[in-house]
């Protein structure tokens, strides 16, 4: 097995300005989540709106603050494996307990 030095896998690091811009976006999205919570007119569609907004925050932190966007794909695979396992388990349990209708069930 030939040995090789650790390659510099990170191609680009965002700077402080980008980080602050993302932090501002996260603040705005959080404020939007809380605002939407109090708007009674959107109550019927509140869960998907909140899930979409929190997914956006999740993606911003993982991709930019955790540098997953710029880092080796193996890290993405490791993280997404755990995340996907948790997500599929959640869907399975919610279907089992009647919260989610699975086609054919």
């Amino acid at each position: 097995m030939s040995a090789h030095a650790v390659p510099h896998t990170v191609e680009h690091h965002p700077g402080a300005k980008e980080y602050i811009a993302i932090g501002t976006a996260l603040t705005v999205i959080t404020a939007l989540e809380v605002t939407v919570y109090y708007v009674h007119a959107v109550r019927p569609v509140l869960p998907p709106i909140l899930i979409a907004l929190s997914a956006l925050k999740f993606a911003l932190v993982v991709m930019f603050y955790m540098h997953l966007k710029f880092d080796n794909r193996m890290f993405t695979g490791m993280f997404l494996f755990g995340l996907a396992t948790a997500a599929f388990t959640a869907i399975a349990f919610l279907a089992l307990f009647g919260f989610v209708r699975v086609a054919g069930a």
Binding site: A16, T30, V34
Partner: protein, 202 residues
Amino acid sequence: MAQLAAAPPTHVEEHTTSTGLNNRKVLMWAFLGSDCMFFGSLIIAFLVYRGKWVGHPNPQDVFDIPYTSVSAFALLMSSLAMVLALAAIQRGDVRRLKIWLLTVAGLGLVFIGGQIYEFTSFGAEGLNLATNTGGTTFFVLTGFHGTHVSLGIAWLLSLFVLASQGKITQARSLDVEIAGLYWHFVDIVWIIIFTVVYLIPV
């Protein structure tokens, strides 16, 4: 296979690996993947019992959304401070690293303090671990999250001490990066908890 004929590493970070990736970083990402499953199971437990709580109060009876929003904001800003700490040490700026590390730890303590006050007030209103399944699943989930945050704060403060002793340098920025990965994970778990547990109505 026995011939790992690499030159001796000139620096502690320059380990030769079969993947080309730093082993500690691989370990942290693997751990975070497993922690996704851990918190996923706790969140699933909360969701499964949601709306089937027996007796009062249940979690939704006692939540103070504006109050929790402030602590959620504090944790989000701590993530910003963490990434600025990493950027600082990657530039070799140890002074700014220490400032930002203290900021992260401080915001983390604000969050934990907020949680302690919140849990205390919930207890005063009659919601505790044994009240009903809502109380059990809520406090186990948020309690484990709070424990993660507390350990993260201890880690960051230890990095601050090491930086003060001159042991964290630009060449050792990976130490800060790995701590940062853990801290950002703790933040994204709270992003999910805040939405799923607090905001989405039963």
